[in-house]
Symmetry: C2
Subunit: 286 residues, 2 copies
Amino acid sequence: MYYGAIEAGGTKFVCAVSRDGAGIEARTSIPTTTPGETLKHVFAFFDSYPLISMGIGSFGPIDVNTDSDTYGYITSTPKPGWGYFDFLGEIKDRYNVPTAWTTDVNAAAYGEFREGGARSSGSCVYLTVGTGIGGGAVVDGKVLEGFGHPEMGHILVRRHPEDEYGGNCPYHADCLEGMAAGPAIEKRHGQTGDMLAADDKVWEIEAYYLAQALVQYTLILRPEVFILGGGVMKQTQLFPLIRQEYQRLLNSYVDTPDIETMITSPAIGDDAAVTGCLLLAAEVKA
Amino acid sequence: MYYGAIEAGGTKFVCAVSRDGAGIEARTSIPTTTPGETLKHVFAFFDSYPLISMGIGSFGPIDVNTDSDTYGYITSTPKPGWGYFDFLGEIKDRYNVPTAWTTDVNAAAYGEFREGGARSSGSCVYLTVGTGIGGGAVVDGKVLEGFGHPEMGHILVRRHPEDEYGGNCPYHADCLEGMAAGPAIEKRHGQTGDMLAADDKVWEIEAYYLAQALVQYTLILRPEVFILGGGVMKQTQLFPLIRQEYQRLLNSYVDTPDIETMITSPAIGDDAAVTGCLLLAAEVKA
């Protein structure tokens, strides 16, 4: 009998199975096209494994409110075909097993918390900085949700004094995602981040925004570890810049763990979310 | 046998006892002077009740990290005599009962969550806006703590375009507390808030900062209810201004409960923290 995991991303789905909830025994990667086509391949993978339970970490926004009529749906995504898609319902119809359901970033936070860079800590935030910015958190051993799931990428930021870029978030213009996700870097500078020199001023501006976000998360949540992943964070020169700006802004107002280990890269890399999904599957109650 | 509660504030301590953990059967209020003198009166009150356990909600910053050498201390407060005072140790030495230990604002959040304005909700944030700004939260039925307790009053805010006040936080200058606590209102306008007209521009600026804070808490925590207390919030004209600015900033990006009931005053008023302390006392494990 197997635990199943689906990391449902905007560009690809990763499906995996495990007998013990930790080691991945088989996996497949499926491009995210239409719900019908993508799920056809998802079903083809899982149909050959007898399942105990499933853990799903999905791109969002999703409905995680169990009292809601649209619980288990991907909700107001602009992604064609996926708006108000009953993702969890489709999975339950097919497999009729207990299912854990959260965001892809919460699943990644949980994977890093249990098996990765935050495994000896009591709490963590996982932030992915790529095409968009999304954050998940583990507090008191559980993924953080309230009336809905966090949307940490859309917090408000103070503008860098030398930054005249207007921001590209369709909801908030110059929120964190609007100012610091990959497309904002490209639109501000006319080229993608990976074409810019490691000592370009752009990274100082980028660190200014990301450090502000970490300060806000610190003052509100007090996580022990920040794990920063996603395409933009492949620019590893950002880490020391973020740590420096974080310390400047926080100004020793609250205690933190050692800054070098507190603000860090994913330890289980691209497997964080799928690992988190397997662990959540292994813990889900019927 | 009684549950004991201490709401330890910067100006006064409120002590109370209850046999069932809910109804307050006796209470006293003690001015906060020196630790020795204040505790003498605290002991005089509790010594006449046989105690099962104690719940303490203290002004901060305090050390809530059970792995720390200074767990149970009030730490880096500027309040004379109270810096690095072993508050929990003194109480345990005297009564030798199991003790719950958190911040005054976390205790107030818990009181409102269990018995007040958030009692039919799954999560809440309690924010007090007075001489300072402090916030506590209940997530998944428990008070929110991580590596330490939240310091929600010190989050960064964007400056109101018409506000030239520099802010008075000694750590961050123009953070939320530096721009929106009572002393900031007084210093900016030359008179205390209660002397200003209800339709003064000051309240629009105040609401601008507080609404930003609620937006950040929403995107990070997704609480179902915000309870806003403290002296500044006695200016009830702030509530509609905050709700309006909150909706403008959030721009319907995430679902929220009904705005009128979501952003509200304390339902159990000045008893929120002491009620929370009693409830925490009734739940504490030996």
